[in-house]
Symmetry: D2
Subunit: 272 residues, 4 copies
């Protein structure tokens, strides 16, 4: 028999405490404002499909993929984080794979890295497989002879590494302004919430969920020529998702409110 949480200890996440204020993660909604460097690419469609759980299929464009570097400001409703710039920012690198679920286009994130612990824990809560890494990306600067300007010819770069070994790097050289947002940044994300088992007889929590967002805003979209390289000696299945062909690059600001998750109902094929 599992115990429900006792009333005396409060908190949206560990650590639980008498007041609940000790919780590492504040409850959603969570507000995000970010600067994004994104490169579209083609992955091997079979390799991509191997990352889709039941209920998710490759959809109309198998092999569509993207590498996304972003710098985020975030805070929760409680504004606990609003006053501390050491706590309300993080850098992120993630992979997106185009897919379909519930009969409509979505994106699957097979890998993600962030450089702060609270965003990592928050990722696990929503089913985003965030690991801890070193992620750096160039910030736009409006003036001067270095730091790219948001203007034709500006070069924006991102690099990610983990445990002192490079994962991937990308660049976008801006050419035109004013296009549409890249498709994979406009569709819902479909995640697998997975909390490992601990007692021998337990099963892990495993739920197919979609993230529910609102207040989505895109800033001006810059498009450009892109490069994308995965490291040669990647340690696991990530290598199978390396780019076969690199497409366009994009630089833009993006904001959203992440409200909560929505459980996806599964048909018979999923449970089989």
């Amino acid at each position: 028999m599992h115990l429900t949480e006792p009333p005396e200890l409060r908190g949206y996440s560990l650590p639980l405490s008498p007041s609940g204020r000790a919780a590492m993660v504040s409850p959603p909604p969570w507000y995000f404002s970010g600067d994004v460097i994104m490169v579209e690419y083609r992955a091997d469609p079979e390799a991509a499909a191997a990352f889709f759980p039941p209920g998710v299929d490759p959809g109309p464009d198998p092999g569509a993929a993207a590498a996304v570097f972003a710098h985020w400001h975030w805070r929760s409703e409680t504004e606990k984080e609003a006053d501390d710039p050491a706590r309300n920012q993080f850098n992120e690198f993630l992979i997106l794979l185009g897919c379909s679920a519930e009969g409509r286009p979505m994106a699957r994130c097979p890998y993600a890295w962030v450089d702060e612990a609270i965003p990592m824990a928050r990722g696990w809560i929503q089913g985003m497989p965030k690991q801890f890494g070193a992620v750096h990306l160039t910030h736009p600067k409006p003036i001067g002879r270095t730091g790219p300007h948001l203007a034709e010819g500006g070069v924006f770069r991102g690099v990610a590494s983990q445990y002192g070994a490079r994962i991937a790097k990308a660049s976008v050289t801006l050419t035109v302004r004013g296009g549409d947002p890249p498709l994979l940044h406009t569709v819902p994300l479909v995640h697998t919430r997975h909390f490992p088992a601990w007692a021998p007889a337990d099963e892990p929590v495993s739920q197919l969920v979609a993230s529910e967002v609102k207040d989505v805003e895109f800033g001006e979209i810059w498009e450009g020529e892109a490069s994308l390289h995965f490291a040669d000696d990647l340690p696991d299945d990530l290598a199978t998702l390396a780019p076969l062909q690199v497409g366009s690059g994009f630089v833009f600001s993006y904001a959203e409110t992440l409200c909560h998750g929505r459980m996806l109902f599964a048909g018979e094929a999923v449970q089989g």
Copy 2:
């Protein structure tokens, strides 16, 4: 209806992948060998009790507490980590509160900090409320005029901070060798596994569990004079656990194999 994990995606933890090797956390058992600096102290018994969930009571010595700094080497059964010293070590600072559950002495960990992300995630799996922080402790050195020797007069220190603000610091000046291990390091830990809800109708996972360990080894126990200070401006309920009186300090090596968790069955009083 919740989906069970599909056979095609494997892994003990996120990220799930075709081979399962992408998992950030390898499955238990996990092996630990560590060097520990531990200071016994008296906390306010009421404040300590406010951190106990139903099923846990203050036991025979209300207010018994300890601050523990440790440097750990660890690896899983898969030995994935054995080859990488950037991955198989971490520093930890935690608080222990003496308590009783199932009618026998246990310890409750209300707060813990580690400086690596995998140990943090592994903590959440077992119900240990590990946050991310900067933890530093002195290492014993056998020779030389600095770095404490494991000998009478050797001074061992630990400091912990988070987001650039100090949490606590402690010191132990060695006086005698060969005593018994400090009590709170010899009893089982009783944790609350807590995985937050995400979809609006969901309840969080909340389980009262005890950690099951084997292969416990203590190295030589050094005892000494101790100091322990919590920072003045601690941001939440942690301040209520500050030391009223500081007891003995201990320096010792410790090893264990952490096998899995055991669900604690709750009596009526617990569910009420």
Copy 3:
């Protein structure tokens, strides 16, 4: 007899190597583009004067001071850094004291912290006393419900710490746009280049120098209400420079090319 650098080993800085490309610091000029959060304040005039070397006097406004947080993109002429966003950025926190040298207004930097090692070493070369610390500041975001906008009401914050202990924090709430740059960011910096002695008979290198810059650009100047707090337990003379009164805050972009230093010739009073 001191050896001059042999022709076979090259490099602007250590490490010297056959090609010279191993040098940690590339030779100037160095290009900087940054985002600045700056708070003017009044320091104790006597305490400030105690940080001025011979040849530098308090000038027309004794006690004028400022706290500056900045995020910088930088590169050298060789563009070695241009391709690596892990290497061409840093955050900085520094104190400026208004002063006079050679009969004209200048600023003296008694303390500075950066979060990258190359900028630290580059600081010592020019006489800027950069130490290593953790510095975080908010970045402007053009859209969204968090991350301050460059608009009335936007709140910009900076925090600095070292060895896990807070040094200072500041905030600026934007009110008006379009004023003049804050004075202490428009005057030359007068530094003491100081390279410690090593052999017992040696004297340290000690030179009073001014930085020579060109291509100075200011972006739009936002002014606002400011707060500034130094930590209570600062470990050394820094505490004497704590704010007696806090003035206006400013948020702006700034760019310059740092060319080289200029030795200040000293009059008789300086040598006495």
Copy 4:
């Protein structure tokens, strides 16, 4: 005309301040106690010789080299650092090349990396070309099933990286105890103190110096089978020093007091 340091501002290093206590680096002597993992190897003798300045020649064993990983506790005479474990430790990775100067065997350090800023600055003062990197090495543990024991079969590893890219890794599997210390850890280090020029007419400080140490202690010497790998894509002259052949590995504790430098007088051949 260069100014000498004014009496009013004090400090062994920047930052100078009224009391002198703001100095980032405390004056020598500096005390070190460390744990060392060292691998002897053969470098290309010509490549090694290209790193020797005038006054230094390859000596009796051209191409003799070693890779050294170490964890250090350190403090200065002032004991300013003794109380803070966040400040009195660092990890180091360095290369040593066998050479000869003044007619006797010495070692030249062409590259070194440390993970703390004060040791980096202290390196530049003594002419050791320390850069900032991530260095990790296994610590001996006396008990348990992980963390190597100082016993036959114990495996000790070191890894170093910089800006998220691997530099080198090494391992030593212990076989025998009680031999002599490895030669290159027993000879004086001959460094080039090099402080870059800043004003256009200036020459850099450039001095050939030897480090003067006392209180040298070696703990028990363990020898074993070693591996050593440099990364494939090293960015500069470091690649020329990659191992042609890997020799024995050693694990031992080491302590010394670093007193000051001694200027090497150069003969005619050196100046030619």
